[in-house]
Symmetry: C2
């Protein structure tokens, strides 16, 4: 049988990257234009809104964002008074990040828009398809992470 040829256009890592870039472009512009906020900043806000106060390190661990990215975003948000950084009683090196009232308001404004955007795009699919898709992404994560964990020099 013929050896399988590589077609970039069908290559899954490429397709993933393509779709992600397409989607992210629009979202980034949207958040930037409407709320003056970057994606890392938005992620931090969303994460804190969901979890309550949290350290930068924990955000890094969850999201795999670079710690410098998180640091910069946290500083910017603090400067805009969307965040405050409380001293962490359990560890003087870190701060606990928490949303200010203003930060909560911003979150309350963005979150429905994000959900609406997600709905608009994925309304073309069935619940089952969406669930399968999401779970497939999660399984891919697990596979890649496990490879990383083992096969490292």
């Amino acid at each position: 049988m013929a050896k399988k040829m590589l077609r970039l256009d069908d290559f899954l890592p490429y397709r993933l990257s393509f779709t992600t870039a397409l989607l992210s472009e629009g979202i980034a512009q949207n958040y930037e234009a409407s709320f003056g906020i970057t994606i890392p900043e938005w992620r931090i806000i969303a994460w804190i809104a969901e979890k309550g106060s949290i350290t930068q390190q924990q955000i890094c661990a969850q999201t795999r964002m670079d710690k410098m990215t998180v640091s910069r975003a946290a500083i910017a948000l603090t400067d805009r008074a969307l965040l405050h950084r409380l001293p962490n009683p359990e560890d003087g090196r870190s701060h606990l990040l928490a949303l200010t009232a203003e930060g909560q308001q911003l979150h309350a404004a963005i979150a429905p828009r994000a959900l609406e955007l997600e709905r608009r795009i994925f309304s073309h699919f069935s619940e089952a398809e969406i669930d399968a898709f999401r779970s497939m992404l999660r399984r891919i994560d697990a596979i890649v992470l496990s490879e990383e964990g083992s096969g490292r020099d």
Copy 2:
């Protein structure tokens, strides 16, 4: 019923971005370490190998890479003699990119590795799952692109 709350961790654009980043990191390192090549460079090589000679513009249109990114990558590849740029008889502004013998060799070396990597990760899924996944990505592309086409200022 309770209004749907946003959980970043389940938010599909975020999940896509997360998985893509995870996957791309590893791949980029791999290509860089083994072949001294970046992802944009690899994409150009793969695309030319598949389609034969092609202009930069056509690569941009297909891959949605920035035209500057493509320009830089093409220059770098030409410097390394992996690519040559033939004058385009049909349009003097552009060049036709084509792989040199060396470029073809490099492609022949990378392609199987890429396929192997894809296989390694996706061997955990059934053919049906993979096809569904790929087609879902393509449909998302189509939806986003169609929105872009219509809803523009």
